[in-house]
């Protein structure tokens, strides 16, 4: 089989993809950058799909689920990926930083509130993933952030004096 060039950004992948599936894909029509057709599953059922490419992303709607694919993110930009290191605290939502509750050097407990983000008129409390010490705060109040942007870095486990 061909090598996968794309990474699934959404929904989060739970298990390995790339096993041999029994399915036919029939492209009924393409127009204006959209692909439509039917997927026939191994059990004979068919289900429609709709797909399109948007810049560096491919979007696929299939059987009620909407998938997003893109080429893997280079290491240098990996801090914006959905898989942060455990010492990184990222924004769970796109929005505006309302309040920064900690500073570098602060000792924090697991589940302590670190930053408050407002998005779509709702406040999101961003909590510490564990007990530790704040190494760095990377955002300011009033700043717009995207989902996945790094907010706070904790001192790594074992690096504390």
């Amino acid at each position: 089989m061909t090598t996968r060039r794309l990474q699934q950004l959404h929904p989060p992948e739970s298990t390995l993809v790339g096993a041999r599936y029994q399915a036919d894909i029939e492209i009924a029509a393409t127009s204006q950058g959209r692909w439509e057709g039917q997927v026939q599953l191994g059990d004979g059922r068919t289900t429609p799909f709709l797909a399109l490419r948007d810049g560096q992303q491919v979007h696929v709607w299939l059987a009620g689920e909407s998938y997003v694919f893109a080429p893997p993110i280079p290491i240098a930009r990996a801090h914006r990926s959905a898989q942060p290191a455990s010492d990184d605290v990222v924004s769970p939502v796109p929005g505006v930083v309302m309040t920064v509750l900690v500073s570098a050097g602060d000792a924090v407990e697991a589940a302590q509130d670190l930053v408050i983000i407002e998005s779509m008129k709702t406040e999101h409390l961003v909590k510490s993933p564990r007990d530790g010490t704040v190494e760095q705060v990377l955002v300011q109040e009033g700043q717009q952030v995207e989902r996945g942007v790094l907010l706070v870095v904790l001192v790594g486990v074992g690096e504390e004096r």
Binding site: M1, T2, R4, R5, L6, Q8, H10, P11, P12, E13, S14, T15, V17, G18, A19, R20, Y21, Q22, A23, D24, I25, E26, I27, A28, A29, T30, S31, R34, V39, Q40, L41, T47, F49, L50, A51, L52, R53, D54, V58, H59, V60, W61, L62, A63, G64, S66, Y67, V68, F69, P92, V93, P94, G95, E118, S119, M120, K121, T122, E123, R147
Partner: protein, 506 residues
Amino acid sequence: MSVFSKVLVANRGEIAVRVLQTLQAMGIATAAVYADPDANSPHAGLADEAFSLGGSTAEETYLDRRKIIELALRCGAEAVHPGYGFLAENPAFSRECAEAGLVFIGPSPETIELLGDKIRSKEAAVIAGVPVVPSSPMWTPGESLLDGLSSQIGFPLLVKAAAGGGGRGMRIVERVQDLETALESANREAASAFGDGRVFLERYIPAARHVEFQVLADSSGNTIHLLERECSIQRRYQKVIEETPSPVLNDDLRTRMAASAVAMAKSAGYTNAGTVEFLVDAQTGEYYFLEMNARIQVEHPITEETLRLDMVEWQTRIAAGKLISLSQEDIRPSGHAVECRIYAEDPYSNFAPATGRLLAWRPPSGMGIRLDSGVAEGQEISAYYDSMLAKLVAWGPDRQSAIGRMQRALQSFPVLGVTTNIPFLIRAIAHPDFRSGGYDTGFIARHPELTASPESNHLNGAAVEIAERIWRSAGPIGGSNMSGQSSAGPQATQGPWRGLSKSTFP
């Protein structure tokens, strides 16, 4: 029969579209207002006239009372419909409309004030003989706390906004040491959402059902109820799926709650369309008054579908001083209706709000299906406003058929570019606890499988393969590029995919 010659709709999104459609059907000229990010949104395009509010945040646009009243006067509107949220339950706005000679389509400022104050509204409920949940007096920022307040209530408890609704400014608090942060956070959120940051504490009743009754009241004091809506499927105290009739009410409980709803509306001196919300303890059959919402509710369409009436038309007629021509005996429901709210949010990431451009938006249609939508394909969904994109409503002659139609419609609703909760809705509607009707407000928390990442399967594998094929097919895609290929069968196997020929993709 004439009511108003022109009405300005002071809202955005699906409710602005919904209200504009009825006004136009009544032959009333319409005006819309819009913030900069909404300049190309459907509500602005639908109205006969649309006026820029200049700005992006809610505070400088849809919450700016002075701007909206000036625009209404300038365009010659006789009345303002506030929709829900924003200024719908702001007594100052209602009063300022009246002072400017504009009819506010809703109850009087005094009634909005009374019901907006959750403490006073509870007093009105008690006077009307309606049972209530124990709660504290109002908390104000800086007020030294709370031991007294919380000890009367006990933990866990709820922090609620006095002006609240839709879960904004609401927090569940398990421990006394978390109370102050929760109060301050709820206070800020309520101030931002409603322009009123006051909050209070209320006893938390777990495993409750949330059932509300729609009422209609005219200026002569004639008050009827339009039966109930079951709203127990919630996340972050915000409704996601509603249905009517409620699977949990028997005739006796329905009759008693309806009588309480009408008594509450009369006690509050209510006019126009309103909703009395109750918590129902499914074990005991006890019910408690929560609050009365002085506005049209998001979920009003399910009532419209089972009663075959237009709530916005009644709101408009009542505001114009017309009397309700229906009697309580005329309220005879037919069949069952379910509503699913389509939110721009990620069900696999704790329902985090999602933004982006709606690259594809293809609503389903068919027997018994209605979509109230405020968005269109190509529109940018920003983080400035509420994340609800649309409401999908299914009606059927009975509960099973309504749910079946909803299931089919949800599975036939392609949305690309903005993550939505549709996959969650599909699972929730199929869940045995939903199908049986035996659910409560803990439904989502109790069933983590509803929000777990989907397992890799045939479908996931097929999606990957489709995406890879598209990625490899570089180059511009022409509008006339229709291939019309069918699969070539097992003999054409290439890789894992039977029947994929290279000519399938251009």
